[in-house]
Amino acid sequence: MKNKGLGEFEELVLLAVCILDKEAYGLSVKREVEKHSGRSILLGAVHITLYRLQDKGLLRSEMGGNTEKRGDRRKRLFTITDAGMRQLRAAQDVRRKMWQLIPQLKLGL
């Protein structure tokens, strides 16, 4: 399944992890994605995606940072790997290239 590119949601999640920079765990990622995309997302969806991305080697994670709000439970903090960064860039590149190919006329509309 590797190197098949990123799904749209996967891309959003990866971007959110990058934005949050060392503070990315399930709930914060959910909030971040909701904030930017404007849609509401189930917590489970975020978790599933995070783990899938980790299995693909695009993310890595460690446990840490418990707060009282969570009933003294630790969170799993995700950070992006080099492979993940490459994938994001690749996705961005593909888009940019394709955008450039759209005839100028249409863009004006």
Binding site: L43, I48, K69, R70, G71, R73, R74, K75
Partner: protein, 898 residues
């Protein structure tokens, strides 16, 4: 987040998640869930947060278990995934079938849930009091000459002396109820009439024994003064609006305990599951000291059983011993008087939580107006179990009927090596899936049927069983049990077929015995018939009662209900002036005063004989005996058979307040004939003088038609004015009422103006019957729905079995009509059998129900015919679609593959 203790996330969800999700992931998930839960409570409320918590948890569970499934490659997991896919495909391929099947199950379960909620609510009464397990009501069993008389009230002195002498009794509270009274807030000058049942006179300890939380005031000191009064929040709003009522005055009128009371406490809204329902709490002390009722204190308060007494008993105490000690107390203080009267009194201790359901056995039920019925609960529970069971059986029916289509699939599976066990588990998984969907739907159905039930029983029910973890455990057990039960039959039958018979040309598959299913359908028909017939009977009787000539003219009568004024001679003059003034209005033709109005008042046991008869001829019978004013007979159109109404000069006569009686009284007291009765006088026990009969009226219905004609005696007394009846023209009601109101206010400024139309009020006597009818109707609709599902299943099944036969018949020239009759014929035979079976049951139960009514309809053949025709029509609708499509099939399709 004001209360941390309450904001705990659902434990059951956590527990479930911990079973399904890998432990390594749990800490993180729970952390996230908890965090988001708190956030949602703060922003969207607790209910939303709980729901979302569940959804999130379930989502995570599904996400992370299937996640694992995708990664594991062992055979059983792949197979179960495969089963799941096949099940879902099967369900979505036969949409109509799946919908009917799921809907049938869901309706059954939903109704079951609703009933469960109702039963739970009924059983929850009075369990909110902290000490409910140790609180008891003292009851008395009065045995006189071997006849038991149970009462829920005791003497005034029993409570205090019990607390004093019996160490196990830790606290007591006495409750008493008086009479209707007018209450007014002097600052606002708007009087209201309050019913006796809403005004309880209680001991100081009331709020310590019962947990009715105070919104304002402290429970230790609210009754420090005997002029204090405690009201509920609702009443506070009624009298004081948004002002703080504490320290304000309420003037309570009425004959028994009038006075100015100072509001010392406001109670929060009373829970609806409390048997005590009231609006005012007044100090008992006040009643004893100021009320015109020294008799409570006669014989040191040991004479009359007027008080409900509740006691808190030490939890380690031996109840039998306490009861014995109470008996001894009664013997000590009342023994002599009791033995003179040949009475033996025994004390009972009724647990607090038992009072709501078991109060009817007591002759004075102790002012409990909020009463439940154990039989109702049993009846409901039986219905619930029955409905659930029928729903499962229908599921079996439908699945076996469908199994024909699955035979080939089973054959192929078997021939390429499926074990029987695997086939069984496949069908089981389907069944579990279907049951789960139905269970989810059923919760929605329960939510939507609960308001209907609430409306029928007249109480606002909430779906609060869903908050109890134990309920969910029970619910899951029911679902799993149901899934296994209903899945096992098709699973075992289908998996037992030989592959050859299923794949070969001559398919001879017959799933199960058809006679069982026919029996079931007949049974369902029978139940439906009985229920339809019951509904029809109840409604017919109610209509009959409402339309019957009553012999009294109630149609145009408006009753003023708020009147309560001590009548003296000036009072009588004021009433007279009011009557004159009010009848000036063209649409008001007459005005009458009386102590009671039709539909109200009770019969009493009174001994009566005519003058001249020996005392042995005293007739001791149930009599309705009331005082009326002079215009009453005219206003209500009494139809005189002999004599006449009271005349004005009679009021001055010495002996003669005079008596108007009905024909039944003529018969009962041996007065020979109405004409002869006019000459007679009646001796009524307890009355100093014999009273002359001035008129005899035709029998009439003063009470509901449940009651037979009994002797009615009306005495003349202009002082007894509790109701004022006005006969008005119905053409311009609003204007007339406005006129009456302004006149009334001018004459009686400190009385409440409350009115109703007598006919509406009279018909309220049939409310219980109407409720009963509505419940019946609800169950009828349900039973018919379920029966239709069963019928549909059977028709589908047999149509499939006979598809070849139909093909051949068609080829030979049978028309669609012929074939439809052929296919539906047998069900109508079943319906006929059911009708025959139903007849005796209808006659028996219908007859015994009608016996409650003195005036009743005759049971005719329509009681059987109408339900049968209704059911015939409904089942025709159900069956026709299926038979039509079967009859229309192209014979080529059904015969080609032979």
């Amino acid at each position: 987040m004001k209360d941390d203790r309450k904001s705990k996330p659902p434990l059951l969800a956590n527990w479930l998640a911990s079973k399904f999700i890998n432990e390594a992931l749990l800490e993180e998930f729970f952390g996230d869930l908890k965090e988001i839960y708190e956030e949602r409570i703060a922003t969207r409320g607790k209910f939303y947060a709980k729901c979302m918590y569940w959804i999130d948890t379930l989502h995570l569970m599904i996400g992370f278990t299937s996640f694992n499934l995708f990664k594991t490659q062992n055979n059983p997991t792949i197979m179960s995934k495969h089963y799941l896919i096949i099940s879902i495909r099967n369900l979505s391929r036969n949409k109509a079938y799946s919908i009917i099947n799921i809907l049938g199950l869901a309706v059954g379960m939903g109704v079951c849930l609703t009933i469960f909620q109702y039963v739970y609510f009924e059983l929850s009464h009075d369990r909110f009091h902290n000490n409910f397990e140790n609180t008891f009501r003292i009851t008395l069993d009065e045995n006189k000459n071997g006849m038991d008389n149970l009462r829920a009230t005791t003497t005034f002195a029993l409570g205090p002396s019990a607390k004093e002498t019996i160490p196990e009794i830790k606290e007591y509270v006495r409750i008493h109820r008086q009479d209707d009274a007018t209450v007014i807030n002097p600052d606002k000058n708007e009087p209201f009439k309050e019913l006796a049942r809403d005004m309880l006179f209680v001991d100081k300890t009331f709020l310590q024994v019962f947990n009715f939380p105070l919104k304002l005031g402290s429970k230790e000191s609210v009754f420090d003064n005997k002029f204090n009064i405690v009201i509920t929040e609702k009443t506070a709003r009624k009298y004081f609006g948004t002002d703080n009522p504490i320290g304000k005055t309420l003037k309570v009128g009425g004959e028994f305990s009038p006075g100015d009371f100072i509001v010392s406490g406001v109670l929060e809204e009373l829970p609806i599951n409390s048997h005590l329902q009231f609006e005012f709490l007044l100090p008992l002390e006040h009643l004893l000291e100021f009320a015109n009722f020294g008799m409570f204190k006669n014989s040191d308060g040991w004479s009359r059983n007027y008080f409900m007494t509740y006691v808190i008993i030490d939890e380690s105490a031996n109840l039998d011993l306490v009861r014995e000690k109470l008996d001894q107390l009664i013997v000590k203080y009342k023994g002599k008087r009791n033995s003179n009267k040949n009475v033996v009194e025994k004390v009972g201790l009724q647990p607090l939580s038992d009072i709501y359901l078991n109060s009817d056995v007591y002759s004075r039920s102790g002012y409990v107006i909020n009463k439940g019925d154990v039989q109702n609960i049993q009846f409901f529970s039986i219905i619930a179990v029955f409905i659930l069971f029928i729903a499962w059986v229908n599921y079996i029916n439908l699945s076996t009927a469908r199994s024909m289509y699955r035979a080939k699939e089973v054959g192929v599976r078997k021939s390429i090596g499926a074990f029987r066990r695997q086939l069984i588990s496949q069908f089981m998984i389907e069944s579990v899936l279907l049951n789960l969907i139905a269970a989810l739907l059923s919760i929605g159905i329960a939510f939507s049927t609960l308001p209907v039930l609430s409306q029928i029983i007249g109480k606002e029910l909430e779906m609060n069983v869903l908050e109890i973890p134990l309920f969910w455990a029970g619910f899951s057990v029911v679902i799993i049990f149901g899934a296994l039960l209903s899945g096992s039959y098709p699973a075992f039958v289908l998996s037992a077929f030989k592959p050859v018979s299923m794949l070969g040309a001559n398919k001879t598959v017959r799933a199960g015995k058809i006679s069982l299913r026919k029996g079931l359908i007949t049974f369902q028909f029978l139940i439906s018939l009985l229920l339809i017939s019951g509904t029809y009977l109840v409604y017919k009787q109610i209509t009959y009662m409402k339309n019957q000539e009553l012999g009294l003219d109630m149609e145009k009568i408006l009753v003023l209900d708020g009147f309560d004024k001590l009548m003296d001679s000036t009072g009588i003059a004021t009433i007279q002036a009011f009557k004159t003034e009010v009848t000036r209005h063209s649409s008001i033709s007459s005005v009458a005063t009386s102590a009671k109005i039709p539909g109200k008042g009770y019969h009493q046991e009174v001994s009566i004989r005519k003058v001249g008869a020996p005392e042995s001829e005293n007739k001791n019978s149930s009599v309705f005996w009331q005082y009326i004013g002079i215009d009453f007979p005219e206003t209500y159109d009494f139809e005189f058979v002999a004599g006449s109404s009271f005349t004005q000069d009679q009021s001055n006569r010495n002996d003669g307040l005079g008596l108007i009686i009905n024909e039944e009284a003529v018969r009962v007291y041996g007065l020979v004939s109405p004409e002869k009765a006019i000459q007679e006088k009646l001796i009524i026990s307890g009355k100093p003088r014999a009273i002359r009969i001035v008129g005899v009226v035709k029998d009439f219905h003063w009470h509901s038609l449940r009651e037979a004609y009994t002797p009615y005696l009306f005495g003349f007394n202009p002082r007894r004015v509790n109701h004022i009846s006005l006969k008005i023209n119905l053409s311009n009601i609003q204007e007339s009422i406005a006129y009456i109101k302004s006149t009334y206010k001018a004459f009686f400024p400190d009385n409440a103006f409350e009115y109703f139309f007598l006919e509406d009020e009279f018909n309220k006597q049939y409310q219980a019957d109407v409720q009963f009818g509505n419940l019946f109707l609800a169950f009828t609709a349900l039973a018919i729905f379920i029966a239709c599902i069963g019928l549909f299943a059977l028709v589908s099944y047999s149509a499939t079995l006979r598809i070849k036969e139909i093909g051949i018949r068609k080829v030979l020239g049978a028309s669609i009509g012929n074939l439809m009759i052929l296919l539906s014929k047998e069900y109508f035979t079943l319906l006929l059998i059911a009708a025959i079976l139903a007849a005796p049951a209808i006659i028996y139960w219908g007859g015994s129900w009608l016996e409650n009514y003195a005036f009743r309809i005759n049971m005719g053949i329509d009681l059987l015919m109408i339900p049968t025709l209704t059911l015939l029509f409904i089942s025709l609708l159900t069956v026709s679609h299926r038979t039509y499509s079967t009859a229309k099939t192209n014979p080529v399709d059904s015969l080609r593959k032979e």
